[in-house]
Amino acid sequence: MSEFVIRGGEVVDASGRRTADVLVRDGVVAEVGAGLEAADVLDAAGAIVTPGFVDLHTHLREPGDEDAETIETGSRAAALGGYTAVVAMPNTRPPLDDPTVVRAVLAIGTEALCEVVSSGCITRGRAGEALAPMGELHALGVRVFTDDGSCVMSAGLMRRALEYSRGLPGAVVAQHAEDDSMCAGGSMHEGAVSSRLGIPGRPGEAEAIIVARDIRLAALTGARVHFLHLSTAASVDLVRAAKRDGVPVTCEVAPHHFTLTDEACATFDPAFKVHPPLRGAADVEAVRAGLADGTIDAIATDHAPHTPETKERPFEEAPPGMLGLETAAALALTELVEPGILTLEQALAALSWNPARIAGIDDRHGRTVAPGAPANLCVLDPAATWTVDPMALASRAHNTPYAGRTLRGRVRHTVLRGERVVLDGRATR
Amino acid sequence: MSGSGADAAMVLRTTVFSADDLRRAHTRIAHEIVERNRGAADVVLVGLHSRGPAIAARLAAAIAGFEGTEVPVGTLDVTFHRDDVGLRPLHPAGPTVVPVDVTGRVVVLVDDVLFTGRTIRAAMDATTELGRPRSIQLAVLVDRGGRELPIRADFVGRNLPTRLAEDVRVRLVETDEVPEDTIELWGPPETAGEEVEA
């Protein structure tokens, strides 16, 4: 394989920050230090060299909805966003509840521009009735089990899944925490805005109720629970208390939940429809605080492509979800680091090494940039500004809620297993 | 047409009617209406918003004075019958109220200034939707020329050829919050090269 040096950047990883060149040879970091030479040079002047990002929450839509996204297009969007690994959510058609489907996704993923890590369903068909073959999926490398898009509503079944996962090393059960019975028919956050717009709501309590329940189940079973896309102050408080009590829980927040509020829904543009929904300003403040004090472990995109046709339906009839892979890091820099809510190191931890650890892929992602580590790296220009153009994104779909927004921070290069998959802001394949 | 355009660049050209002139013109027009129709028994005076209703009321009072006949007075808004809908902002200036059935009667439309004739065309349409008058006549205080339709007035206070850039300003006690009636001709200070419209 090739040899090149990433020159002139500031290396930031879990061990701290220092100015250093990084020599990559045969897919691994060969040397880190000053004045390194190679025939091939990747310019990192003024930029940050960091372990590639890891997304715990990506909807790649393949198989079943390839008109919205494919593993190839989704992984290209991921690479452009600085990600070297994404956890593919299981709500494909068919869902990832069967070894055959998981094998197929992993096989296609070997050609992708980032590592595609398959999640697996907790229950068959994500129907919440019977356990999926978690052991068989675990044998294929699945560590994150989730019915994402659906909440496991039965406390009894959730308990069984947690108990069973204790027999699967490294496994974590990830919950989409929203009580269905309280959200039926709801399309946005329940509050003054939904009342004014006449759009049925999804109350914040629907999330906190499940978070509270599953914290008790984690304590009861001793199994790890991860909460997907937390969005309310009450949920963050519950997780903070649970961590203090030593309960094995982790959680993530999506960029839209720390950048947007339910007021955006007043445009009736379904680009702003997502589950859990955009909340009020106090909830946004609370998740920002949760990131700052470490209650929230990871920033995860909930990248959810939808075709223009489906997003052109009226708000209540359009599917929930928004693109995230190409904007997440820039939003973290613009909305969290720049105003001083997070340090740069905290933001990168939430984007890279914390989620790598949760997903059980910290042997190859999110590692300290040191000789011997697989070369999964991102070179990020923190000062570059750019304006989000939905049509210019690499995703097959265009449903970003940030159209026209100018963000600070852009990925310059992404290196996957030593391959330069993004060079000067462009995907190389 | 009239009363519009408080353009600072405009200057007073001439006073067309003083209050006394106007009183005499009303009296004369009232007499002409009665003379033409051999009495006032079948006459309905219909004033076009915004100043026509006041003028129609004055004519009715004059007729009552010398003829002893109470002539019915109506008001007409022609906004919804205009042919320039969509070309400029249009708002109804008042209600359409004609207190008698116009069928078989003589409707005298009353307005302050006759210019292009388009308002009168709209008024004739609006009138015929109320019924089928025996005839429709037209009374105006000023005919300023500039017709764009084959319409002429039956009763005219004064013929006043004007240029397009000029403005006939009518101010009545009832409608314009002035102490006494005036009708004035205003125009731009320089008029060289302008075409006479009438």
């Binding site: 049925p200 052109e312 | 070309l87 609006a126 109320l130």
Partner: protein, 307 residues
């Protein structure tokens, strides 16, 4: 003003102008020839994704009395049933060269989205639970016809399935803009979870309010929007909130009884009350045509933006 999507988009002077226009058009509709040529050559399309014969006929009558050409896009027999998307449907209609689209849709915000896709004026004829601005206009017009333009100090109760009601959302805004004090009356499960930002108050008991009301508006229970799961039975609802004859007798003799229709006689309003002397329900229908003429004229005729 290009579109009418929500009462919230109107200023007080817009509302006054529309009420003035409605009065002008009411006199037009009462003439022997109840028609004016105002919108000759303009084309108005009615596009109803949700059934409503009443509102559709009212709009079509209004457009015809203004001499506009009226096209009816029947969703039930159209390509929409064959899976065509909203954007394609309206783009097709727009391509025919039309001036206004009157839109009714079961989902909130659909008319607003359409304004982003085509150039024609859009009139919201009811979108989900969100807004029904012409209904509010005709309701306000009906009350002002009886009580004059200034409704300061007037007490109006809107009773029933408020949470599902676009009429309530629009009426509260229009009537409060004219000075009325509006109280929403319903079991808590039929009110929105919060009334923050609503210029009105709420109550769970109708009876104490009755003697002080200037107008009472009854709303239909919207079974199609899950309302019936929100209280135990219709019998219990009628017993607590129905405008029965006994309750109607406790109203002042000059209090107006209103209903946006369609009525469920014997549920939210007793048949005898609906037909009684204080009912202005029939006037609401008549005024609806005048109010919609006012809206179509204001959007298509009065503006002068065509030049």
């Amino acid at each position: 003003m290009k579109h009418l999507l929500s009462i919230a988009d109107l200023t007080r002077s817009d509302l006054d102008e529309l009420l003035d226009l409605a009065a002008s058009f009411l006199s037009v509709t009462q003439r022997e020839t109840p028609k004016v040529p105002a919108l000759r050559g303009r084309t108005v399309v009615s596009l109803f994704f949700e059934d409503s014969t009443r509102t559709r006929l009212s709009f079509e009558t209004a457009a015809k009395r203004l001499s506009a050409d009226v096209m009816v896009f029947s969703v039930a027999t159209s390509s929409v049933k064959k899976g065509e998307g909203l954007r394609d449907t309206v783009a097709t209609i727009a391509a025919m060269g039309i001036d206004a689209v009157v839109v009714r849709h079961a989902a909130a915000g659909a008319p607003r989205r359409i304004t982003e896709w085509i150039d024609a004026s859009i009139v919201n004829a009811g979108d989900g639970r969100h807004q029904h601005p012409t209904q509010a206009l005709l309701d306000a017009f009906t009350i002002t016809q009886h009580r004059g333009r200034d409704l300061s100090g007037m007490r109006v109760a809107i009773v029933g399935d408020v949470r599902n009601s676009r009429v309530a959302r629009s009426d509260v805004q229009a009537l409060s803009m004219l000075g009325a004090e509006v109280t929403l009356v319903a079991p808590p499960t039929l009110l929105p979870e919060t009334l923050e930002g609503w210029p009105c108050s709420s109550a769970v008991d109708l009876d104490p309010l009755l003697p002080d009301l200037d107008a009472v508006m009854l709303l239909r229970i919207q079974h199609e929007r899950d309302a019936s799961t929100r209280f135990p039975s219709l019998r219990e609802y009628t017993a607590r909130y129905g405008l029965t004859e006994a309750r109607a007798r406790r109203l002042r003799p000059d209090a107006l009884i209103m209903h946006p229709g369609p009525m469920n006689r014997g549920v939210e309003i007793a048949a005898a009350v609906a037909d009684g002397p204080q009912s202005v329900i029939g006037e609401q229908v008549t005024n609806g045509v005048a109010a919609r003429m006012a809206v179509l004229w204001k959007l298509l005729g009065a503006g002068g933006d065509v030049v």
